[in-house]
């Protein structure tokens, strides 16, 4: 316990952090709450002195938007696809990296590179990779023949090129691209966490398992995974939270229209919905933000509950 006469000192040391938190976190949250319960809140009207009625109309309006349901569905689908996929891949890669002795530092750095690369930039590279093959018309009618390395590869192996992201592409082709992109983008952080966890596991458990004649597969499922379960839980929970806030990855590939040409908004997400609303309908945006908060909160609680049952320690 801090002695009471020293308590003011403790507060003093905490003050900078508390003040910053109050300004940049607590105040915006309160403000959001306040805006969300004012019917049709709009900032320019508010500045002009307009008074709004209190009520839950903003929330009703958000839920009634067709657009919102699309956004919710897209977000959910991306979460459900990318979180397990990236976690499993990260686990496998981390285990492999951990068992490689030569070049392990070098490989770890390589796997971490996407983490420090701008996601919009990566998105543009992905967009280029998934372009239609061959005769795509570029600016001023020039023929882009090198576009679409993925389709080039598919064709090389005798497959039919797929319209991944261009005008007229199917929803599931778009989702596939997004899933690959998001998984790839999410890997480094997860690998880092899991690798750290692996390196702190007592080597003697593996020695014991060897003496007990354990097969590699059983070592992985019965020893590595359970011992890593706290890290896996952490990675899954942060993965879901990140997944619900998915936005910039879509922008990276499809631009701010949030969909392939001719299907604007078909891949919009919750955060995208909030951004769309934020310019003119701050009340609606606030309500949507709070709904998103509620969803993330519930999903995280479920995650925590499940992980408490499944993790050991």
């Amino acid at each position: 316990m801090v002695e009471s006469k020293h308590r003011w000192k403790a507060w003093l040391y905490l003050a900078p952090a508390i003040i910053l938190l109050l300004i940049f976190t607590v105040w915006p949250i309160i403000n959001t709450l306040h805006m969300s319960v004012q019917e049709g809140y709009n900032q320019s009207l508010a500045v002009a002195g307009h008074e709004f009625e209190y009520g839950f109309g903003n929330f009703e309006r958000v839920i009634e938007y067709d657009n919102f349901i699309t956004c919710l569905k897209n977000t959910m689908i991306l979460c459900v696809l990318t979180v397990p996929l990236s976690t499993i891949l990260a686990l496998v890669i981390a285990v492999c990296l951990n068992s490689i002795k030569p070049l392990s530092r070098f490989l770890q750095t390589i796997y971490f590179l996407p983490y420090v690369t701008n996601s919009i930039a990566i998105g543009m590279v992905f967009a280029a990779m998934f372009n239609i093959v061959g005769n795509n018309i570029g600016n001023e009618n020039e023929l882009i023949t090198t576009a679409g390395i993925i389709n080039n590869v598919i064709e090389f192996f005798g497959g039919d090129p797929v319209n991944w992201i261009n005008a007229g592409s199917s929803y599931w082709a778009n989702i596939t691209v997004m899933t690959i992109y998001i998984v790839w983008n999410a890997l480094p952080f997860k690998i880092l966490i899991l690798l750290g966890g692996l390196q702190s596991v007592n080597k003697q458990y593996y020695d014991a398992a060897k003496v007990d004649g354990t097969s590699r597969f059983r070592v992985f499922t019965k020893i590595t995974v359970p011992l890593l379960s706290p890290m896996i839980a952490y990675v899954v929970i942060t993965g879901f939270i990140g997944g619900f806030k998915e936005y910039s990855s879509i922008v990276g590939i499809f631009g701010e229209k949030m969909g392939p040409t001719g299907a604007d908004g078909s891949l919009n997400t919750m955060v995208g919905f909030i951004y769309n609303a934020i310019e003119s309908q701050q009340g609606t945006a606030s309500a949507a933000a709070l709904i998103l908060f509620g969803i993330i909160f519930i999903v995280t609680m479920i995650n925590l509950y499940v992980s408490k049952k499944k993790t050991h320690y």
Partner: protein, 363 residues
Amino acid sequence: MKIVLQNLTKIFPSRNKKVKDEVVAVSDFTFEIPDGKLIGLLGPSGCGKSTTLYMISGLQKPSGGKIFFGDDDVTGLSAENRGVGLVFQNYALYPHMTVKQNILFPLQNLKGKDKLPKDVMIERAYTAAKLVQIDNLMDRKPSELSGGQQQRVAIARALVKMPKVLLLDEPLSNLDARLRLQTREEIRRIQKETGITTIFVTHDQEEAMSISDLIVVMKLGVVQQIGAPQDVYDDPTNLFVAKFLGTPPINVFDGRVEGEKLYIGDAAVLDVPGVSDQPVTVGIRPEGFNIDPNGTFVCNLQNVEIMGRDVSVVSTNEASLNPVIRSIVNSDNKIEMGETVTFSLKSHKVFLFSKEDESRIYF
């Protein structure tokens, strides 16, 4: 199953390539461990006991030499396929499994024709648990057990697959004195019952002496002596072994041999026929002293401790290399509390060692 070690050597290479500081953890260990015996591997910390066990278990590859189980060369065989039971120095119980799951784990690993039906596995797990008296703790996690209980779980896990070789790395180090005594007798009993060839590592000489059929004394990776505990105690090959075995420890003196007589200080204390004139280190077991007014070895009496049957006489002498001389004599001897005490020596309890290399000089 007998275990044969042939010139077994382990060298840990130096980390820094420029500085040559490789560690020779085990050097040229040759020994045939007879079938069904319990071997005590004994030596001070860092002398290569664990390393020897790890090489036998297959967890570490020898730098040189060969290992045979029976007539099979297992040197190249990996740990998974050697089928030994190993109890680690710090148990290495799987923290996320209950005691029962821990003990079952080696059985569940069995594949193909060795695979057991589930009820047989459970039965064997309970048999192993009963052997070490933990069958009432089966549903606990290792973190909910005391050190001694964890140790016994580790032993049960090693025993459950009925290994032909059982390796125990200081399995009693974390037990209190009484439990230690009890557990070591249990280990002895289990070993006798099952007839598993067992190697038991310890740095407690008393522990090794009390339960082993044979003891191996090591120092800095080199085997010093192998033999039955009593033989090694009665007939040590060098000063290190003599000092390492026995409680209270052996008394060590500076001495010299002149004209086939052993001198400690100025007193001629013993006839040593056949030993050439030279300075020597003299080791005398505590029980090697007789209180004898006609003796020639005079020491300054410090204290007499009566311990029932025996009497421990604490004295000092200028030539002694230990701070005090401890001698244990029969309590029938009446000890006059005076300034000095006079001893004669039992010649079979007196050992001479070369000053140069500490090796034994026989007489």
